[in-house]
């Protein structure tokens, strides 16, 4: 093995070290942590960092996927291959189960992202998870910019932005009462571009839909959506074949593709650098619901 000579930390080293520190703090102070893992790029990055934090021992946490039922097959296959390779336990909480037995009702717009909150909170209670790692980043959205790295949730899973604990130095206070839990955001300080540059540096494997590919898509609300069981195309919407890729991967009903010919990480980094739109603004209908859409969902216990 070659010895690394680099003594000073570049930006990616500094971010990596901060994230690893956060994972290790949680491992040291909590009884039942879990990593939210969808197979998307941010949660794949989380798992990669967790592996590095505890090597050569395995990651001491299970994974939890809150499954909207509106999935991309490539992402589910990828999720399962990661779980298999790392030998980790995967719990799945299914929105579809809640719709089938009437605990949740399908929304008029067909979007299922907001429906994930209840299955998530129920899974936290059922498994008595006390620390829940999420891939949220502060650069994603204005409400997230005010989020702590370690953020207390009450017994109802709620976030109260006005009662957040001050977060000083790198001393995290994760104390919580029984029934409460803490959300932990190890990549809070990463930007979208940092994530891509690090994925390139570390050669992290991702689901194929992040790279440009030919796909039948239709236009709705300024986004390219893919055909699926979530309804569409309908009315005047027509399917077209386009070269597209995904910048974020969420519920298929509200995650749009962007037109792209970026087939490599170099291409993607060039594209993200030149982009005129944020990844959420470009591709997430759920954040367009209102000016405070993310804040409202977070207050209710969303990721």
């Amino acid at each position: 093995m070659t010895t690394i000579e680099r003594a000073t930390l570049d930006a990616l080293d500094a971010l990596e070290s901060e994230s690893i520190h956060i994972f290790r703090e949680v491992a040291g102070e909590f009884d039942r942590p879990v990593i939210l893992f969808s197979g998307g790029k941010d949660s794949t990055l989380l798992v990669h960092l967790a592996v590095k934090a505890f090597a050569p021992a395995p990651v001491p946490f299970p994974l939890l996927h809150v499954d909207t039922g509106h999935n991309f097959d490539e992402v589910i296959d990828f999720r399962d291959s990661i779980v298999e390779r790392l030998g980790l336990r995967l719990e799945v909480a299914k929105v579809q189960d809640y719709i089938d037995d009437g605990r949740l009702v399908e929304r008029a717009d067909g979007t299922r992202n907001p429906l994930q909150t209840q299955p998530l909170l129920d899974a936290i209670v059922e498994h008595r998870f006390d620390a829940v790692f999420g891939g949220g980043r502060r650069d994603e959205e204005r409400a997230r910019a005010k989020e702590r790295i370690m953020s207390l949730r009450d017994a109802f899973g709620r976030w109260d932005p006005r009662k957040q604990r001050p977060e000083l130095w790198n001393l995290y206070n994760g104390r919580h009462a029984p029934g409460e839990h803490v959300r932990v955001f190890p990549i809070s300080n990463w930007t979208e571009l940092d994530v891509w540059r690090y994925i390139q540096r570390e050669q992290i494997e991702l689901p194929s839909i992040y790279y440009a590919h030919e796909r039948e898509v239709f236009r709705r609300d300024g986004m390219w959506l893919t055909e699926g069981p979530w309804g569409g195309p309908r009315g005047a919407e027509t399917l077209e074949k386009k070269s597209v890729r995904y910048r974020t991967v969420g519920d298929g009903s509200c995650t749009g593709a962007v037109e792209s010919t970026a087939t490599s990480l170099d291409d993607i980094i060039a594209e993200v650098t030149a982009s005129r739109l944020t990844e959420r603004g470009a591709t997430r209908a759920d954040d367009r619901l209102s000016e405070a859409a993310m804040e409202d969902r977070k207050r209710e216990g969303y990721f």
């Binding site: 093995m1 010895t3 690394i4 003594a7 000073t8 930390l9 570049d10 930006a11 990616l12 080293d13 500094a14 971010l15 070290s17 690893i20 520190h21 290790r24 703090e25 491992a27 040291g28 592996v51 590095k52 934090a53 505890f54 090597a55 050569p56 021992a57 395995p58 001491p60 790392l86 030998g87 502060r138 650069d139 959205e141 204005r142 409400a143 910019a145 005010k146 207390l152 932005p161 006005r162 604990r165 001050p166 977060e167 000083l168 130095w169 790198n170 001393l171 206070n173 104390r175 009462a177 300080n189 930007t191 940092d194 982009s275 739109l277 944020t278 603004g281 000016e291 405070a292 804040e295």
Partner: protein
């Protein structure tokens, strides 16, 4: 060349235009994208404004937009071809100590804003004192709204002179302080050099942020690393996985994981495990990527030692030749961050590094009058935003450095046992020396 990372904070009083300055930095570095600008333009029109209100880029919570104020520390990200920036934007009016202490605790530089029409005001003195106490290594005074004083050199020179004196009295070295005249609204000297200030020969704000040395003073200090977690693969069934096989004889692997808090460490270094005091030799400094020739402050590493001694989370690895004091009686400065006041002889929890222990906080001896920057009578209590001095008695002895010497091992939190809330930020010793009140 790889980019490095500068963490900095901004502070200012109400109406100094800080949100506008931050909005301007983001806007002029093209860190704000089209959909965000459109959202700001839409919201500005809704509020009846003729030009986009850049502060709307920053104020993220519903209550902030409704009240037109910034409530909480917000983190912002932008980059240039040479450097990445993490900006902790700290609001000036409500809970200024709480927010400034929080934002400044991780900052390598702070930008303090004043209104050119008002010059140095009480709030500026308070902020500067808090930044000095927290040992933020570098300070920028941004004199904003210079367009409103007609770009008058005399006015700006007078403010600069007064501030330089203030900074010096608080212990900042002259080369750690930079004064920059700006107009956040118009953009003068923020990213683009102003045509209106030919008498100003210094850098623009962004130019300064891009070129200021980023290596913190912690690297030159004696080695310190709190042990976060003991990595022992043999405890798990997966130790023979393909991922792990390249590590060889894992059966005996025992690594101490942590983030180096100060100094540097190389294999062969003599280290002491505190508070017990056993001395041993470092055999490996490594990460998941392999062995490191040297681990330096800020890097998360795993350290292996020559002797099989009992080490657990909470212990501190330190350089054998430069050890901190191990004590259960600590003279400290406390920044009170909670609505719940300090009661004399309160029994609380103290988190220092990776160790949490019980503590009894003695009656505060004095507190800082932040208006006059003098020590005054604390009258037995500390309330929200107070900064005072007290003696603490801990259940377990702690290895501590003076905060003025090493930030990471000289800092701690006080935690309220019933609620779990953070009550105070603690600094070992007296990092801000003030004259007593007359």
């Amino acid at each position: 060349m790889a980019k490095d990372l500068l963490r900095f904070a901004t502070a200012g009083s109400v109406d100094d235009g800080k949100s506008t300055l931050v909005g301007r930095l983001l806007y002029d570095t093209k860190s704000v994208l089209a959909d965000q600008i459109e959202a700001v333009q839409r919201a500005s029109v809704d509020k009846g404004l003729s030009t986009p209100d850049l502060s709307l880029l920053v104020d993220g919570l519903r209550a902030e937009r409704e009240q037109g104020i910034t409530i909480d520390v917000a983190y912002r990200y932008f980059g240039t071809p040479t450097r990445e920036f993490v900006l902790a934007d700290t609001p000036g009016h409500v809970q200024y100590t709480r927010n400034t202490v929080t934002g400044a605790s991780t900052a390598e530089l702070a930008v303090l804003l004043v209104d050119a029409r008002n010059g140095i005001v009480e709030q500026t003195r308070r902020h500067a004192a808090v930044l000095a106490m927290l040992r933020v290594p570098r300070l920028v005074l941004a004199i904003n709204k210079i367009d409103l004083v007609g770009y008058d050199e005399e006015t700006l020179r007078a403010i600069e002179k007064e501030f330089t004196g203030l900074a010096r009295s608080l212990g900042f070295a002259d080369d750690a302080v930079q004064t920059i005249p700006v107009s956040a609204l118009v953009g003068d000297n923020v990213v683009e050099r102003s045509a209106h200030t030919p008498w100003y020969g210094g850098p623009t704000l962004l130019g300064h942020l891009e070129t200021v040395p980023v290596v913190g003073p912690e690297v030159a200090k004696p080695f310190r690393m709190p042990v976060q977690y003991v990595i022992r693969p043999r405890d798990s069934a997966d130790a023979r996985s393909a991922e792990a096989s390249r590590w060889g004889a894992l059966h005996d692997y025992r690594g101490y994981a942590g983030q180096i808090a100060a100094g540097a460490v190389v294999p062969g270094d003599r280290v002491v495990v505190l508070p017990e005091g056993r001395e041993t030799t470092v055999t490996h400094v490594e990460t998941a990527d392999g062995p490191l020739a040297e681990g330096t402050a800020g890097r998360s590493v795993t350290i292996r030692l020559a002797d099989d001694i009992d080490i657990a989370r909470g212990d501190l690895l330190v350089a054998a030749e430069a050890q901190p004091v191990v004590t259960s009686e600590i003279d400290a400065t406390l920044c009170w961050l909670s609505d719940k006041p300090l009661r004399a002889n309160a029994r609380l929890l103290l988190k220092h590094g990776t160790r949490t222990t019980q503590v009894i906080v003695g009656a505060p001896e004095s507190k800082i009058d932040t208006d006059t920057l003098t020590d005054i009578e604390a009258e037995g209590t500390l309330g929200l935003n107070d900064i005072g001095r007290a003696t603490l008695r801990t259940a377990d002895p702690l290895p501590v450095d003076e905060y003025a010497d090493i930030r990471a091992t000289g800092s701690f939190l006080l935690i309220d046992p019933p609620s779990g809330n953070t009550l105070a930020a603690g600094l070992v010793g007296t990092p801000l020396a003030l004259s007593p009140a007359e």
